[in-house]
Subunit: 390 residues, 2 copies
């Protein structure tokens, strides 16, 4: 029997290319090969014990029913408290909505802001799902080339040049994926001013906030107070598989976001929301900070070592857990390079193809989501791989 034709967006949305590499890595492992995984965008630490225990208690206490669409009031208040204690900002909890992961927040943000045919500016390279949230609502992702010259961040100048009358919003990430770079306070202020001038939305993805290894990153809600800010319990708070995030929207938009959430999600996971309450306890925050120190140590180890092997990593990526390397002095095609590196050396990395349209063949992303001894092993293998090839 013939099936109906699928939507055009079904064809425009691409799977992640790294999935094929990941499948091959699993295959090699099934055959007994040892693989160092540097392709994974997930902390290798399990959910911190106080949070896990809070989740277990939530279940024991029977917190298994629906919650209000906007989220557990106590959790919205706790997040407001976090903005106060960490950033010195007073954010009305009524502006904070709890979402099924940052993914849910991005669906809501784009659904609120982008009509079909309008365009959304996205820095290129960037998080591959972002363009597909734009595709979901049939808006047009407009990749704006960013490079080391602007720390891979979308600057007000680049954004102003890329804007036109059909632009509905800009979506930036800080710290960014795949580059680990931060937006400056001046960038955020400039983007906010541009958004105001052009009457367009500004969405700032802060899901790696908290994971930074130098000066404190600028907080969008301070420098762009009307931005729609997306965050997550996945990365800094270590709750990936629980699927919990949040968004902060301008006060007037909170009822709009809430009605979208009622309709699209009903509510975010109840056990996860109760567990997340524990994320803001002293004990949990200490664990998160010790993990941040571990990530910093890994970055400090990996960055110079990769550079000494010929990987060109501009600037000093100061956040998230990624290094984005220009490999054009080592190969012509980073995808083939990643395949060979996996097959021959047992090291899995993510090719630029998943992150950018401009020069994907020149780039690779290394995630330092594995411990230093494994990173050392990977470096040894890469050294051998490069020596064999040259």
């Amino acid at each position: 029997m013939t099936l109906p034709t699928l939507s055009a967006r079904s064809h425009r949305i691409q799977p992640f290319h790294v999935m094929a590499l990941l499948a091959r890595a699993r295959e090699l492992e099934a055959h007994g090969r040892d693989i160092v995984h540097m392709e994974i965008g997930e902390p290798d630490f399990p959910t911190a014990e106080p949070v896990r225990i809070a989740g277990e208690q939530a279940l024991t206490q029977g917190h298994t029913g629906y919650l209000p669409a906007a989220g557990l009031p106590a959790l919205r208040a706790a997040i407001a408290g976090h903005y106060r204690s960490r950033y010195g900002l007073a954010i009305d909890p009524g502006r904070i909505l709890i979402t099924p992961g940052a993914s849910g927040a991005l669906v809501v943000a784009l659904a609120m802001l982008a009509d079909p045919g309008r365009n959304v500016l996205l820095p290129d390279p960037g998080y591959p799902c972002n363009r597909n949230f734009v595709e979901l609502v049939d808006a047009v992702p407009r990749a704006v080339r960013v490079d080391a010259g602007t720390d891979y961040q979308l600057t007000p100048g680049l954004a102003a040049d890329a804007c036109d009358d059909r632009t509905a919003a800009m979506l930036v990430g800080s710290p960014g994926n795949p580059t680990g770079t931060l937006a400056s306070a001046a960038d955020l202020q400039g983007l906010a001013a541009l958004a105001q001038r052009r009457h367009i939305g500004l969405i700032v993805d802060e899901i790696y906030h908290g994971l930074h290894y130098g000066a404190d990153p600028a907080q969008a809600l301070e420098h762009a107070p009307d931005a729609t800010v997306v965050n997550s319990f996945s990365k800094y708070f270590g709750m990936t598989g629980w699927r919990l995030g949040w968004m902060v929207v301008p006060r007037d938009w909170a009822p709009v976001a809430e009605k979208l959430m009622q309709n699209l999600f009903i509510s975010a996971s109840t056990p996860a929301q109760y567990a997340a309450l524990a994320c803001f306890d002293e004990k949990a925050l200490e664990i998160f900070e010790s993990r941040r120190a571990a990530f910093r140590q890994r970055r400090d180890f990996l960055l110079p070592a990769l550079r000494s092997l010929g990987f060109h990593i501009p600037g000093d990526p100061a956040g998230a857990f990624y290094l984005y390397a220009d490999v054009s002095s080592l190969c012509d095609d980073s995808f083939a390079f990643a395949e060979d590196l996996l097959e021959q050396a047992g090291v899995a990395v993510t090719p630029g193809l998943d992150f950018e349209r401009t020069a994907p063949q020149r780039h690779l992303r290394f995630a330092y989501t594995t411990d230093t001894s494994r990173l050392a092993e990977a470096l040894e293998r890469i050294r051998g791989f490069l020596a064999a090839g040259s």
Copy 2:
């Protein structure tokens, strides 16, 4: 400062009208009033103990990381096993994808099938979120009036009349919300034939499957094998707040659904997926069946009692936990009636306005998600309310 203009769909998507009633009910309760809740679309039973304990164990064992986008392989296999044991159907687990609630499945189904400007047939009355999943992807919800004459189900004849060249899909529910009625095998076969002939999608929402109180309901995968079937662990399996569902798609579409899920959700909740494995154990199934018996008892108690009070409920709604009553012999405006019933008698019900466009003012939905003694109390109050008003 002026905020940017929101998308047109932000205005088209309506909040649930029952939310205002619910807020008022909470207010009354805060002032000490006792309210009988018959507006809630959620079983009053907590998650069954074997499932809850499996969730706690999953956490203890550290199952807190991301899972594959398509879901935990063991859970996909367990669901295939359920189709085999309960319906005698062999479903390839590769066609089963685990989603964040049935809500997630409906987003994926509509994103796969409906391009902007195309229309999707929906029975009216129906589940209010359905038209908004259609709005999300800027397709056009086309309400097709159904009534007691077809058991409130979209028949092949009604659907054929409503189809045009812009129709992308039909979305039906069995058992249906708000009516609790079932699609017949002949209906499903006819809709499948129409879908085939017109080259359009057929989505069948079976989230209340398992909750039926007469003859076994027809299973869409038997009578419409190429339908996209949406299901959930929320209702029969009692896991509402965990946010877990699944979808079954034609084999060729599984990679498409999977790439959409990778991008839009990353994956469904990990603790929830491990917990759900326990849903198919003998012990858990016994609990679900005893709850089904309790729902049946409530329905058998409530249905004749409401009729004797003058609520017109056609047919014998045989599934879910809803009765949809025509109240036109009792009032002119069901919304005002629901408000008065709440204020004066302390009984909360859902007005037709949330479910239909054709004759919302004539209808009310009663949910029997509270125990028989509370239903008896509600009936007593309604009796008094009607007597006072007449």
